[in-house]
Subunit: 207 residues, 2 copies
């Protein structure tokens, strides 16, 4: 959401929500109890990153992150779902979920088979990024889109713990370096999780 | 998808895809390998139910299933995601996934704790449907929408195996009876899974 808002040049103030505390006031804003939630100046409240992104495209269309015709928008949405659902389940949950979030939230020991599955699965997704960017400038087509935002956000979390095998996937690395050099991406590279030091190249555009 | 297409009065031909066979020709249409996939007359191919629904709303806007302003569309999308992601994970996967799909696909024994979780979780979702329809004619507002389609589709699968506790949730039952009586819903009530007889009231609008 941060990257999408910055790309669209929309000002916003960030608030941290510890969703695991399940605060009553927060559940009133979003009964699903998860983040992100966006509150507009007029009080309009939106939850769910895909819902918020669709809303922002409709209300602030000046900078377009979705595409200029129905088929292009479908391709962007397909890839957003690919990374937010499929990649998240097959890779992010298995690596960041097991190694970082479980320890951070004191939920027990990392699950070895899940971590091995994450390490195995990430390769075909990086190959897929390479396949797409061989034919296109950005993941969904000629323009930078929400597909790049979704994919790069997931990869940045995995890169933080040093688990992206960039050496074996040059095309994906080249695409990620281009995303990483965008001003919208800088705040994310400055994030630090208490108790976890990121991998040495985390902030470097040349890595 | 069948209900949404019928509501929009769009003709279509259905094809069965046994996704677990992972046919090469099908993976070429949709690399994610899942259903639904929509192929337009001109060859345009779309995958993922939410992506297809957004596309249909854009290209065939005559009958609107999403809403007439950005906030209304956000509310519809929020609830579609609620049922397709949250309800699916907390209820459908635990009941239909364990009891029906595992046996149908010969994937092993049903997992007792998952089934118990599904039976426990369904109550708060049925309460939520009751809460929404107390304030609104349909789930997302005054008009029948994709939110009703998503919720009723999940519930119909669970109702097939007799696992919806309708007696304890009158408001949800009244809403579901109204969905069930729509012509778009009839083909779904005629579905039969080989080897599984549906619960006695499955087809009845009065149940």
């Amino acid at each position: 959401m941060r990257i999408a808002l910055a790309e669209k040049k929309l000002d916003f103030e960030q608030r941290i929500e510890k969703v695991w505390e399940r605060r009553t006031e927060f559940l009133a804003l979003n009964p699903a109890g998860d983040v992100p939630v966006l509150v507009e100046a007029d009080g309009t409240t939106l939850a769910n990153s895909q819902v918020i992104c669709e809303y922002l495209e409709e209300v602030y269309p000046e900078i377009n992150l979705l595409g200029f015709d129905p088929a292009q928008r479908a391709e962007t949405r397909r890839l957003v779902s690919w990374f937010d659902v499929k990649f998240n389940r097959e890779v992010t949950d298995n690596l960041v979920g097991e190694k970082l979030m479980k320890r951070f939230l004191k939920l027990g020991e990392p699950h070895g088979p899940s971590i091995r599955a994450g390490h195995a699965n990430i390769h075909y997704h990086l190959d897929y990024i390479g396949f797409l960017t061989e034919k296109r400038r950005w993941l969904a087509g000629e323009n930078f889109s929400l597909a790049d935002v979704a994919a790069a956000s997931h990869l940045s979390a995995i890169d933080y713990i040093g688990d992206v095998p960039w050496d074996e996937h040059q095309a994906a690395r080249e695409w990620y370096a281009r995303v990483k050099s965008r001003p919208s991406f800088q705040p994310l590279l400055e994030d630090r999780i208490p108790g976890f030091t990121p991998v040495g190249h985390y902030e470097n555009v040349d890595f």
